[in-house]
């Protein structure tokens, strides 16, 4: 069943939780609502579920008005961050709950309930835990039971609120792969909320990036990562080096494709990619612009070359599969991520002078008074 959200707005007192949200979720897709805490993603999910009511706007299920439907009538399965399993019931009874509370004439017979529940427990690979109580399960097992319970009533839509938020890293990684496989099996329209960009990018068909009650970008994981629509998305999805206007002069001095720079400067807040390997966005007189370069989009070279920026190595850390190099250019700190192989070839040492050659740069013009962009850039 497709979900359509039209111009949804919600306030809590003076706080605007959601501001004119428009979103369409096609049938069978797994969509991630991604954003920092307080961005409104959970509120949006609860509005879709009917647990919260919107101040303005509409929710449509399969093209039909559902804004005022009660949670009970929406046929949504909801999975909570802290599982919300019924603590006084066994795993079996938890999963059977949705079937047992059906009106008498719709309620399946006891044998049928037993069959369905065991089938679902098989689906989440936990049929051997049927007689346990929730407190006797690990976090990952509880969340899978919660999922089985939600699926028992054959919902048209599955909504998951930070489903892996309370689990530790290893379990989280395995569970999200498992969720992806499960979704490919049952193929039910699903929306899950997360603040973990890696989780959203790995699991979802499409990612909706939210910030301050608004949608910043909607796109496939690849689109939002490699083609962020706004400085916020750039910063939120992975690390990024941000070069302020005053630094742009330096970039311009070294590499100078003036046309790309002009395009960038006139691009407005939407931003425009400065095409061509070595981008040197010349902001000319419009100095309020930011250039974004991902740490792994910068190469370190030993010899000066066109468009490269001279810098001094401050520190070199090996972090897991990659090597992070911190460099100083004048007073600015730049972070570069290299593969281990590349780092071994370069054999970088503290205090060395090297040149930085960016592979991909993106420039966003800052709207006047755009304090949001200027603050906390990390560079």
């Amino acid at each position: 069943m497709s979900i359509e959200i039209r111009d949804i707005g919600k306030r809590f007192g003076d706080f605007v939780a959601l501001d004119g949200i428009n979103l369409t979720i096609p049938t069978g897709e797994l969509v991630a609502l991604l954003g920092p805490s307080g961005c409104g993603k959970t509120t949006l999910l609860r509005i879709i579920a009917g647990m919260e009511s919107a101040d303005t706007g509409q929710v449509l299920f399969a093209g039909e008005e559902a804004t005022h439907l009660h949670v009970r009538e929406r046929q949504v399965g909801f999975v909570f961050q802290h599982y919300a399993l019924f603590r006084h019931m066994t795993v079996f009874e938890n999963v059977a709950f949705g079937l047992r509370v059906k009106p008498r004439r719709e309620r399946p017979a006891e044998a049928e309930i037993r069959r369905r529940v065991m089938e679902l427990l098989g689906l989440v690979q936990l049929d051997w835990l049927a007689d346990r109580y929730p407190t006797q399960l690990s976090g990952g097992q509880r969340q899978r039971i919660a999922l089985a319970r939600a699926l028992a009533v054959e919902p048209k839509v599955l909504l998951l609120d930070e489903p892996f938020g309370a689990l530790d890293t290893q379990v989280r990684k395995e569970l999200r792969r498992w969720l992806r496989r499960l979704h490919d099996e049952v193929h039910i329209s699903s929306v899950f909320v997360t603040h973990d960009q890696e989780e959203a990018l790995e699991v979802a068909d499409r990612v909706v990036v939210m910030n301050r009650g608004r949608i910043e970008q909607i796109g496939t994981p690849d689109e939002v990562y490699s083609n962020p629509a706004s400085p916020f998305v750039y910063r939120f999805l992975g690390d990024v080096n941000v070069f302020h206007s005053r630094l742009q002069g330096v970039w311009a001095e070294i590499g100078r494709p003036p046309s790309g720079g002009a395009a960038a400067a006139s691009a407005g807040s939407g931003g425009a990619a400065a095409e061509g390997g070595i981008a040197a966005p010349v902001a000319t007189d419009d100095d309020a612009a930011l250039a974004f370069v991902r740490p792994h989009d910068i190469d370190i070279v030993r010899a000066p070359q066109a468009g490269a920026l001279q810098a001094t190595i401050q520190d070199v850390h090996a972090i897991g599969p990659s090597v992070r190099v911190e460099l100083a250019h004048e007073s600015e700190l730049i972070e570069v991520e290299l593969t281990r192989e590349r780092a071994e070839i370069l054999a970088l040492r503290k205090g060395e002078q090297v040149w930085l050659s960016p592979r991909q740069v993106r420039v966003f013009a800052v709207p006047s008074g755009g304090e949001e962009f200027v603050s906390g850039s990390g560079i």
């Binding site: 603590r87 709950f97 509370v101 290893q170 990018l201």
Partner: protein, 307 residues
Amino acid sequence: MKPRHSALAEPPIVRIALTTLALLFLAFFLGLPLLSVFAEAFAAGVPAYLRALADPEARSAVILTVIVALGVLPLNIVFGVAAAWVIAKFEFRGKAALITLIDLPFAVSPVVAGLVFVLIFGAQGLFGPWLMAHDIKIIFALPGIVLATLFVTFPFIARELIPLMQAQGREEEEAAISLGASGWQMLWRVTLPNIKWGLLYGVILANARAMGEFGAVSVVSGHIRGETNTLPLHVEILYNEYNQVGAFAAASVLAMLALVTLLAKTAVEWRMRRETAMLSAELSPERVPAPASGRTAGATHPSAERP
């Protein structure tokens, strides 16, 4: 020099002295009175004790006390659960005022509480003439006693349930509703099972108070022998008439009630502690069985996280 067991423990002599002091205090102020109640009750022998209890007035006092408790507790359970549920699970204007109001019976002297009902329902009270005209008796009758008892015992159940329900949150109830349960189904299958021990605890305390209440009931009952005398009032009357054996025999019934209450309370507390321990038990960091592909995870995206 002898090493101490722990840097934080007091020297043994201090510990022994403090413990002895506490035990002596308990024996003197709790144990001794309790013993003396039974000693006085049986002072004239077991047959006299049984005769005193078999007295029609004593029997009717016991029966009335039980009736009052049976009338008060169901109402208190309904009001207490409803009030606690609303306070614990919803945000609304005037919530603080409602909590204060629930505590009012604890703050007000029971005598004042009794007087309030006399002022409202008494012959000279607000509704007095109307009640008289319709021949309804509230003050100096059973309804008045039930009302006064209801008032003084109201906070016990709500007070016990509010923190419990707050700790449990709304998620399980939301889950039940999203699975298609009706409001009643949610109440019977999720809300009540989750609070049953806390509720029982509150009921035990409220019951003890309902059966033992003196002040408020004394004001509204009118002390009509064999009719509106509850057990505590009966004790007072007999005592004032120098009927030592009768007074203490009745008092011994109340004392036994207290002992039963304590036992029940301890049993429920023990159950509750076990349940809370189960709920707050740390999750073992158990791994999900590895997926069929068996690949161990490395970051799939080379995105370094920076807070």
